[in-house]
Symmetry: C2
DNA sequence: TTGTATGCGTTATCAC
DNA sequence: GTGATAACGCATACAA
């Protein structure tokens, strides 16, 4: 790699002159600036990022800690983060906690050594279940800003970007009751223990209460794949009064449609199916599923923007941004 | 952040003694080593990664350039890469090319300034279509090792990890012909222009030729979602002799099942459906789809391991690893 | 066993 | 307008 020193030697001038010339300092003559830039271009000189970082004590890098990236929600959020980071001249270092506390803690610790200027994270399932927060507080105490999205820790004060989990499910449930005239709505949940799962379930329960209806909740408890199908299948078979299914994740809604068809339920005439989802979800279901569309990409973009803002201006006050979801009804063309 | 200098001052010893003590140098007395480590622990000292990097001229970081991360194949590969990198004490900086040449080129350039020790990449769609390779060669010329996986550039010599695209589709097609006695197999392709798409199609064509059968190929050409459904639907309707569908991506197989059911085709009795897929693919289809299972996670792990090996030992000779796929037949329990 | 000096590549301050 | 020097935090060759 070409260095300032090499350029200086070749041009028979000093290192500092070269540096200034490349940075368009006013103290440098037009002539030398052109000479320097010409040679730099020719030798494909690029300032060593590491040295710059040491000098400025800024890494221009964001640590992104995700529970998993095979869940399309987080993949889409990551996409939004990456895009925004790149546009603002930041790199991202990605760590996956695999939903474990220990990996999350380790990742935070390892990157808290100058590698990154701040963190964007969604809390691991295990950390939420066990209510582990000390490792995150430690990072914040060391003056590294942390932004949480989606799965957040209420007790920690920091920038947050969340989805309107309670409200979106409340609204969707109300829609099923009032517009589609459903009375026996089944909630299918496999994320009961997450903060977002709890909020969604609460939204559902509240909507039913407000309409004097009885909740039906089917918890799936991380069963293996075939069990998800069998559990839903058997429940639907045993409860033929169910006239709507509300899935609060992005998988079980599609499974529910498949099982209902197997039981010859007429969708959407006799049974409405509504789930959480993203851009490609509808394509995989037939008939089309209606979805509560989380703007995952936008969540990523806004999270990243917010963190970068707080990095530039650390007197910024902390805020919690709520991203509303859209209820996307299926266009049942096919 | 605590520094060596601060520790030294507090202990009234020199910086180098502190440094050596922390690195378990034999020249340091048991006594001071304990004193130093004790204080370091107490003050939560962590060596500044940036400074270490500048000193050693190694970033212990790998640049990972992916076309997209919302495609579950790449998400799964990323998972494998992250796991292996972490286990080997490497960080990963992730960039997404969004399938564009310009972003891919920019990412390579930006990270080729000391930020990373090497690259793992799958070539962007646009780069493959336009046969752009100069930007990658430039990186390799600058002595940064590049490992390509899945989508590779044949003309470039470097470490590669690829899937047996030709052979797996040849075998799957042969299975449909010989075991399931199918004679009119439709190939559905929406990745015709990628190196992997071409290879898969060739495997299909060769298997048919070897059995004196005629190919039927339905190219989807990145149509929008509804068009994918309609195109497949209409094709199946107009060609009722089709008795098997082979999808060479991870989406259209599921769509094909849905459309075939709508046309009242009996799956798997009258129509076999086979697609590419990963762990969660089967759950979303009913009846279950048979899949050519790409070991995406393993591809990531091996890619990362191979690159790290070449980083440690740059006299390593280059190799191309082929990861075989599994043909996973559906267990049609539900 | 400990300390001093040097340098990684860059930027900034100051002197010429 | 240019150059010498110091400094970021760390590691190490060398001196004591």
């Amino acid at each position: 790699m070409t260095t300032l020193k090499e350029l200086a030697k070749l041009l028979n001038i000093s290192v500092s002159t070269v540096s200034k010339a490349l940075n368009d300092s006013h103290e440098i003559s037009e002539n030398t600036r052109i000479r320097v830039k010409g040679l730099a271009e020719k030798l494909n000189y690029k300032p060593n990022r590491i040295a710059q970082q040491l000098k400025t004590n800024k890494s221009k890098t964001i640590g992104v800690i995700l529970p998993t990236v095979t869940n399309p929600f987080f993949a889409e959020v990551l996409h939004g983060i990456e895009k925004t980071a790149t546009n603002n001249d930041y790199d991202i270092i990605v760590c996956l906690s695999n939903e474990t506390f220990i990996k999350e803690k380790r990742s935070l610790e390892l990157l808290s050594n100058g590698s990154v200027d701040g963190f964007i994270m969604a809390v691991a399932r295990e950390s939420q279940v066990k209510n582990e927060t000390a490792h995150i507080l430690e990072v914040i105490d060391s003056k590294l800003p942390v932004l949480m999205f989606d799965r957040v820790v209420n007790e920690i004060t920091c920038n947050k970007v969340i989805v309107d989990d309670f409200q979106s499910v409340y609204d969707a449930t109300t829609y099923l009751i009032e517009t589609e005239k459903r009375k026996h709505i089944l909630l299918v949940s496999n994320i009961e223990e997450l903060s977002v799962g709890k909020l969604r379930t609460e939204g559902y329960v509240k909507a039913l209460e407000d309409h004097k209806l009885k909740p039906h909740i089917l918890k799936l408890d991380h069963a293996v794949d075939t069990d998800i199908e069998k559990t839903i299948h058997d429940y639907l078979k045993a409860n033929d009064t169910i006239d709507a299914i509300l899935s609060i994740d992005h998988i079980t809604g599609i499974v529910a449609i498949n099982m209902a068809k197997k039981l010859n339920r007429n969708i959407p005439k006799d049974l409405s199916v509504l789930g959480f989802g993203f851009d490609h979800t509808p394509l995989l279901a037939s008939p089309k599923i209606s979805i509560i569309h989380q703007k995952a990409h936008e969540i990523g973009e806004i999270s990243c923007k917010l963190l970068i803002d707080s990095l530039k201006n650390d007197t910024n006050k902390l805020q919690t941004v709520v991203i509303p979801s859209n209820l996307k009804l299926s266009e049942s063309t096919m």
